[in-house]
């Protein structure tokens, strides 16, 4: 029996990097904080609000996202969009993920299951 806390910790570690890739991929179409939170949850990649909002600011600071205030609607919202740098990084990270997944599956088949 695995300690649920241990297993949750490892799952979180595996998912941590995936949130960055998902944000960069999703924000190729501009989006705002809460909208992105919903979209990620709908895509079966739920993130806590207090993780996502700081992450968006950090990616913006690193130049991977650009932002713009949209004041057309009643509620002004800050829209983020993946920058060209972010776009390049997203493809590289996605490749990395696919490679890692393939490698892990290969190890899994090679060693066989008990």
């Amino acid at each position: 029996m695995i300690d649920p806390e241990v297993s949750a910790g490892h799952r979180q570690e595996v998912r941590r990097g995936s949130v960055v890739v998902a944000c960069l991929l999703m924000l190729r179409t501009p989006g705002y904080g809460y909208g992105l939170l919903e979209a990620l949850a709908a895509a079966d990649l739920p993130v806590d609000a207090n993780t996502l909002y700081p992450l968006l600011r950090r990616l913006e600071k690193q130049g991977l996202l650009s932002s713009e205030w949209n004041t057309d609607e009643a509620r002004p919202r800050k829209f983020y969009r993946t920058s060209p740098d972010g776009e390049r990084l997203a493809s590289a990270l996605l490749d990395e993920w696919s490679t890692t997944a393939r490698t892990l599956h290969a190890i899994d088949t090679e060693r066989g299951r008990p």
Partner: protein, 314 residues
Amino acid sequence: MTLTDRYVAATLRRIPADQHGDIEAELRASIDDAVEAQVESGVAPEAAETSVLTDLGDPDRLAAGLAGRPLQLIGPGLYLDWWRLLTTLLWIAPVPGAVVLTVGLIDGDPVGSAIWSGIWTAASVALQIAFWTTLVFAVLERTGHGRTTDLTGPWTVDRLPEQRERRDVSLGDTVASVGLLALVVAAVFLQLRFSGFSTADGEPIPVLDPGLWPGWVAGFLAIVAVDAVVAIVTYARGRWTVGLAALNTVTGVLFAVPAVWLATHDRLVNPAFLDASGGDRLSWLVPVIVATIVVVTVWDVVDGWTKALRARRA
């Protein structure tokens, strides 16, 4: 003032002023969006607000995330540098302590108060060293040096500690043992002149019973001398042997049994010293002496045997 107002204010408190406008507007919009979504799915507005803010969690934690501030005093990047520097610097602390102790004894302060001042000084210096070192590293962590620079350069195999020839008895242990014995001998002689109390005509009152001189004291010094020889022979041989452990046990028993007997028969501590110090004030002295003698002796004997038996097995 709504809960949201209070939440936003609490978050902004920990965020640099130049980012307030942007963060406040975005945070409010995000909270309003989330509340609105819950209300649309049929939750009461107050309950929705409470639930959204609860999910966002501790505003200080959120603020640290938004401002990119670390939530640790010293992170893993700097921790080892901090620890190595601190443990090195702390070696300085006993020096001023020893100076204060020596000056106190030379000035004729009571032995107890001189030792106390020495310990107090060493502890204060250690506390200052720990505080300022930690402060500097906490500032480094917050100014962004935490992740990039390694203060002592990259680690190489040249930095591996020398593997010394395997020996159970370190030089440090031996120096400490012999130094402790020398200190005890010094204390026996120093207590004659510096006990903190004098007779009416200015003669110092020794702590130990004058009736112990010369026979008991001579016997005691002989035991100390044998102990010192045991310590040095053990170091020279590099390990404890059964013979040395047995000899160590004999000296331990020869010291402890008479010392405890003397203490419990009121023949160890000078009665005049107890009277001069106000009688009851030092009523704890004899039990503490007995307990110390027993604990130190048992530890010393057990330590010798443990190391001797371990060395034989190895």
